[in-house]
Every structure is written in C-alpha cells, then in structure tokens.
C-alpha cells in the first residue's frame, strides 16, 4: 500500500476530528457518581473497611488522632493523604472530575465549599444529619461556624472539623525594652510598629505583616483589620461590601503599616513571619492559635517565656473585639466513595465531642473548637492556656465569615491582587477596593 500527501492530510484530519470529540464524550461520562449515600442506612459493620482521606497538611496530627480513635472503635482502617492547604479544593475536584475516586472523605477549606458542591464532588449530608440529630447534636456546634462551614443552598454538605481563628501575638520582652504597650486598636498597632522598627536598627521590627498575594495569607491580614473596623465582605443581602467606610479604613490601616513592617510585607508569608517572630526579630504578628504551641516549644522558639496573645485590635468607631474565620475546615463524603456509609460515619465521628476533645487535648494538632461543649472541657483550658479566653470570646461572638459560594476563591484572589497593588503604592485603598468590588459584582 502506498500513500500520497493528500491521503496523509485526509487521514490526519479524520484522526484529529475523532480525537477532538473524545473530551466531549469523557465529559459526558464524568457525571456518573455511583450510588448516592443512603441516609437511613448505618454502617453497622466497618471491620476491615479501608477509608482514604484527603487532609490538610497542617492538620495531619489532628487527623491521626481522630483516625486512630475511629479505627479502635470500628475496626476500620483510615489512610491519610496530606496535601498543602491551597490544593485541597482543586485536588478534591480533580479526584471526582477525573473519575479516579481515590478518596472517600475530603477535608475542605470552607471558602471552597461552593466550588466543591458545584463540581458535584460532595455527598449531600442533610438527611444523614437529620436522621442522627440525637447523636450528632448539631445544636452544640458553634453557631458562628456551623452554617458557614457546611451550608450551601440550604443543604448540609459536611460537618465542621476545625474552627480556626486569629489572635494577635506579641513579644513582652521587646515591648518592655522599647517601652510600648499591647495595642488595643489598629492605630496603636501602627504606632507600636513604627516605634519598634524605628529604634530597632534593622535588627528588630515592630511587626511581621503577612502580605503574600494569596487569599490564605494576604486575605487573612486584610480580614483581621476588616473585622476590627467592623466591616464585612458581604452585606446582609449577600452583596459585596468592599467599598464600605469600614473596609476602606481597614485597607488604609494595612497600607499604612507596611513600610514599618518586617521587609517586605508582599514577600512575607508563613515561612518568613513565623521564624521572625519566634526568633525575636519581629515584636508582633497575627496568626492562628497554633502559634502558641510553636512559641512554647524551646526547640522552635527563643521567646518561650515572653510571647503573649491578645484579641485582634479594633479600629474606627468599632469598639468590639472580634476575630475572623480565616481558615476553618470541614469534612465531607466524596460522591465517588465506594464506602459512603462508612465515610459518613468517619465524618460524623471526627466531629463528635469525644474526638474533638481528644484532638484539642493534644499539643501541636492546630485544631480549634467547633462545639460549645468543648469550651467547658478541661482539655481545652489545658492546651490553650492563656489564649483560651480569647479563643472562646472570638468563636462565641460574631466572627467575620468569608464568602463560600461558587467562585469565592477566584473572587478572593482578585481582592488580594488589588490589595497587593495598594501595598506596593500603585493605588489607594479606595481604588483597590472599588476595583475588587466591581469584579465581585460582575461575578
């Protein structure tokens, strides 16, 4: 057989067309999610069942404890796969969209919940929870986090895992050396930062301000100020409220302190800020409560006896201290799980008072309470020590909730992009927030 150039081209075009249609076929096929979770069916015999869980790397310790308890109680085996926090949403979506179905349970960042639901990655747990109200005790979950972490379109897609909140940590020894007081307002925070940096001679800085251009870092830093000034990401009707006077004041406070912070905020992420604070080069930093564990560990910290936690400062006319739900995670069942009832049992178990109190009772797990009853547990007081009161106050109040609908991650990235340009001095706080507001309104 022989071929001419024309035959060759014809064959190529035919093959190309055939290949081009393959993605369409595969996309059609990807909707097959298998049998749905039967809420009335209990996983009575879990002995020998193997469950695979996709977890957030910093929460691996907490998951190990919860998984061990679950294994002891049920005879099931739990295999944990830790990944970075910023890959949780995309990896879960890819696991389901690709049809791989490697995982039975996903730990998720609540901001990505809308995207996960939209992707069809999560089982609807509404009926499952309703059937087991007596065991799960939803009324015991902290009202400030239960809905934001689990509810989309009036349906429940998971149960809370970790109620992360932020505090302001400061170095008492440095404060004494420079003759300054712990700040109660963001204005005072800026003054303290300026004073210490000015007198620190390039060896000590007033504050480490985390401004790396990703939602989980710069978004947190802005949210801390936003709640301090009494602002919100969304108004009561769910519309963006980024141009409110409170939001503008929060961004202005952030931009104003940046020149005096550890150089430079836009380069500063976890791996720059934490060593600077623990080594005594930065006098203040905002962080999750986990920092108290790191600061108390002499192998990691040079400020074991001098760190102190306080609630985030307030600003403007707001006088009520608050906190922001800057991270916060839940656990949910994958639609492609082959052991949905068993997976749901694990999700239920990890949110139980027993599991929560055991996890929180261990240092270094990085977990914060998700239940009211946990505040009364001796494990909570023992682990959180001097930060316990502030954590309880923050979570019991009205913490700032981040958006969690479809596209929330994308919108938050737009916000931090504009804020980063503001920190760089390329636009004012009002301009940055107006652009973000416009983008959020466009959807």
């Amino acid at each position: 057989m022989t071929t001419s150039r024309r035959d060759f081209l014809r064959g190529g075009v035919a093959f190309g067309a055939a290949f081009a249609t393959l993605p369409l076929l595969s996309a059609c096929g990807s909707d097959d999610a298998g049998a749905a979770l039967d809420p009335s069916k209990s996983a009575t015999d879990l002995d020998g069942v193997k469950l695979k869980v996709l977890v957030n790397q910093p929460n691996l310790g907490a998951w190990r404890i919860a998984a061990r308890l679950f294994e002891q109680e049920t005879g099931a085996t739990v295999e944990l796969t830790p990944i970075p926090y910023d890959k949780l949403t995309s990896n879960a979506i890819r696991d389901v969209q690709s049809g791989a179905g490697e995982f039975d349970v996903f730990q998720y960042w609540y901001v990505g919940l809308g995207d996960l639901v939209d992707a069809g990655a999560l089982e609807n747990l509404t009926d499952f929870i309703d059937e087991r109200r007596a065991e799960i005790r939803p009324e015991d979950f902290l009202p400030s986090i239960y809905d934001p972490y689990t509810l989309i379109d009036d349906r429940r897609w998971g149960l809370p895992f970790d109620g992360d909140t932020f505090l302001l940590f400061y170095n008492q020894e440095l404060f004494d050396r420079f003759g300054v007081q712990p700040p109660q307002t963001w204005e005072q925070y800026a003054d303290v930062t300026r004073t210490i940096t000015g007198r620190g001679g390039g060896n000590v800085y007033g504050a480490a301000v985390m401004g790396q251009q990703v939602p989980i870092i710069l978004g947190c830093t802005f949210a801390d100020r936003l709640v301090g000034f009494g602002g919100r990401f969304l108004d009561d009707s769910g519309k963006p409220a980024l141009t409110s006077p409170e939001a503008v004041a929060a961004a202005e406070a952030l931009f104003a302190v940046s020149p005096d912070a550890l150089p430079t905020p836009l380069q500063t992420g976890f791996d720059q800020a934490i060593p600077a604070f623990l080594s005594g080069r930065a006098a203040m930093m905002e962080f999750w409560t986990d920092l108290s564990v790191m600061a108390s560990n002499p192998e990691q910290s040079r400020i074991v006896d001098s760190w102190r936690p306080i609630q985030l400062p307030v600003g403007g006319s707001n006088t009520t201290h608050g906190t922001s739900l800057n991270a916060g995670f839940g656990a949910a069942v994958s639609t492609l799980s082959k052991h949905k009832e068993a997976a749901a049992a694990l999700v239920q178990f990890q949110a139980s008072p027993r599991s929560q109190e055991t996890v929180i009772g261990n240092f270094g797990t990085g977990a914060d309470p998700i239940r009211r009853s946990t505040f009364a547990a001796p494990e909570f007081r023992r682990t959180f020590g001097q930060a316990a009161g502030d954590v309880q106050a923050g979570l019991s109040g009205q913490p700032l909730v981040w958006p969690n609908s479809v596209g929330a991650v994308d919108r938050l990235q737009t916000l931090v992009d504009e804020l980063a340009l503001g920190i760089q001095g390329k636009q004012s706080a009002r301009e940055a927030l107006q652009k973000a507001q416009d983008a959020w309104e466009r959807g």
């Binding site: 057989m1 022989t2 071929t3 001419s4 035959d7 060759f8 064959g11 190529g12 093959f15 190309g16 290949f19 081009a20 393959l22 993605p23 369409l24 996309a27 910023d86 949403t89 995309s90 979506i93 890819r94 969209q97 995207d115 996960l116 939209d118 992707a119 069809g120 990655a121 390039g202 800085y205 790396q212 251009q213 990703v214 550890l262 150089p263 430079t264 836009l266 380069q267 720059q272 060593p275 600077a276 080069r281 596209g407 991650v409 994308d410 990235q413 992009d417 980063a420 340009l421 920190i423 760089q424 390329k426």
Partner: protein, 287 residues
C-alpha cells in the same frame, strides 16, 4: 516518482495525533466553552473566554513581561555562554572539573534552585543582604521592588541556563576546523578578526539554534517564579505561564486559562517564526 510506503509513517502520525493534536483540540475545546475546574466543556461560550483573558490586566501585562524576560534571558545567556565557551575552547579539549562545575546548575532541580536563591535573597537573614549590610549597603532587598525582583529572576535563570548554552557552543567551537584558524593566522588575522570573520560565521547556525531553544524555554518559565516571587511584588514578575496556572488551577477558571494559553502560544509562535527564519537565512549564507 516512487511513493513512500504508508505503513512506515503511521507510528509517527499516531504519535503526533496523540501528543499534539489531541491536547491541542482539547485546549481549543476548553477555550470555547464555559469550563471551570469543576465543569470542563460545560456549554459553548463562543469567544467569551478570549475576551475575558484579553480584558485581564494581569494576563495582558504578563505577555509583554514574558517576551521581555524570554528575549532578555536568551540574549544574556547567549552572550555569556559564548564568552565562556571561547575561554573553554582556548583552554583546550578537556573540561575536567570545569565540566562538573558547569553541569551543577543544570542538573539541580529548578525548585531547589528557586528555594536556594530565595534563601540567599531573603531580606532578613539572607546571605546576600547580610553581605551587603557588612559592606555598608543596608536595606539590600532586590525582591522587594518591581525592577529588582524581575532582574533577580533573570539572574537566577541565567545562573541556571548559561552552562547549557556554554556546553552547546563549546561543542560547536570544537567543530571549527583547525586548518582554517591556522590559515587565517598565517594571513595575519588578529584575534578579533579571527573571531569576527572566521569563528562566529562558522558557528552562527548553532548560535541562532541555541538562541531559539533558550527563547522557547524561557517563555515557559514557571518554577522559579512560583518559588521565588509568586509573581510579585504586585504583578511585577507575573509571567504568562504563572498567570495561566493561577487562573486555571487556583481560581478554577479553566476556560479562561485555556484561552490565555492559546493567545500566549500565538505570541510564542510569532517569536519562534521570526527566529526560525533567521536561522534558515543564517544557514543559507553560512560558509
């Protein structure tokens, strides 16, 4: 004229379709549909994704920034690589320990290169700012400014890739006939004349080919941007590959990322076409 048996070309056709046509068709499909990470190929959307990509300030600015980075890196590395290759050629045919030293940056994983340079350049505790401070230049923080961060990435890329260019050009220099050089010297050519009129014309084809290779690789740079600057400060080092990654896999806008990829590919294609024509022309006139 005798025709080629068709069976000989089918493996090649199959490979091309599998590795080129299929991904490209899929990419086009994504760019023309309302695709997110959650819902790929979810309804025809016409050219909306292209409009969104071209309306994105971050993506638009990343195009010229990528072009500047790629051309700048390729030219800089070509110049340095040529100089180093000439020095090596003068030294002789045996590279010895120099060969190992040259290969070191090349075999280091790019992520490790990024991590190492990030630590070296860290404004607090970084080795280079500490040295600058000791020399009396306090506040040295190249990654803290737009220009400094861009130049730093260029320097890191050059540190990693110049050895590659050097080795290729060194091999080309070894191919220059000894008799030609001797004859030129007997005719009274100076070292500069020898370089300009004998050596460079002989290796011109290799020079352009290496430039083309580096240009394409530099356009695609992602890892050191991801590790060292994350595209910042602001968008100062957001190159197109990084912006496309962010749009597709962090913001989940896969359709827009696919459209941006097509636009970016067209830009790279323009540069490649121009340099390819130059390469062809050089080969035609080369001695």
């Amino acid at each position: 004229m005798r025709k080629t048996p068709a069976s000989l070309s089918w493996p090649l056709i199959g490979a091309l379709l599998l590795f080129s046509a299929f991904p490209f068709a899929y990419l086009i499909g994504l760019s023309l549909t309302d695709s997110t990470l959650a819902r790929p190929l979810n309804g025809f959307s016409g050219l909306d994704n292209y409009a969104d990509a071209l309306a994105s300030t971050a993506f638009k600015s990343s195009l010229w920034r990528s072009a500047l980075f790629a051309v700048g890196a390729a030219l800089l590395q070509l110049a340095l690589g040529t100089a180093l290759a000439l020095l090596l050629a003068i030294r002789g045919r045996r590279l010895g320990w120099l060969g190992v030293a040259l290969l070191l940056p090349l075999v280091t994983p790019p992520v490790m290169v990024g991590v190492a340079w990030k630590l070296l350049l860290a404004p607090v505790g970084g080795a280079l700012p500490e040295i600058a401070d000791t020399l009396g230049s306090s506040g040295f923080n190249p990654l803290g400014s737009s220009l400094g961060a861009f130049v730093s990435l260029l320097a890191i890329d050059t540190w990693q890739w110049t050895p590659f260019v050097t080795l290729l050009l060194y091999a080309a220099l070894l191919g220059v006939p000894r008799e030609l050089l001797d004859a030129a010297r007997i005719d009274g050519a100076s070292t500069r004349q020898l370089l300009r009129h004998v050596i460079l014309p002989l290796i011109a084809g290799t020079l352009v080919a290496v430039f083309l290779l580096r240009l394409v690789i530099a356009f695609k740079v992602f890892d050191i941007v991801y590790v060292v600057t994350s595209g910042g400060p602001g968008f100062a080092t957001t190159l197109s590959a990084f912006d496309i990654y962010r749009t597709g896999l962090q913001d989940f806008q896969v359709g827009e990322a696919a459209a941006a990829t097509v636009v970016f590919s067209l830009l790279v294609g323009i540069f490649v076409t121009v340099v390819s024509r130059l390469h062809k022309r050089v080969r035609e006139v080369a001695p």
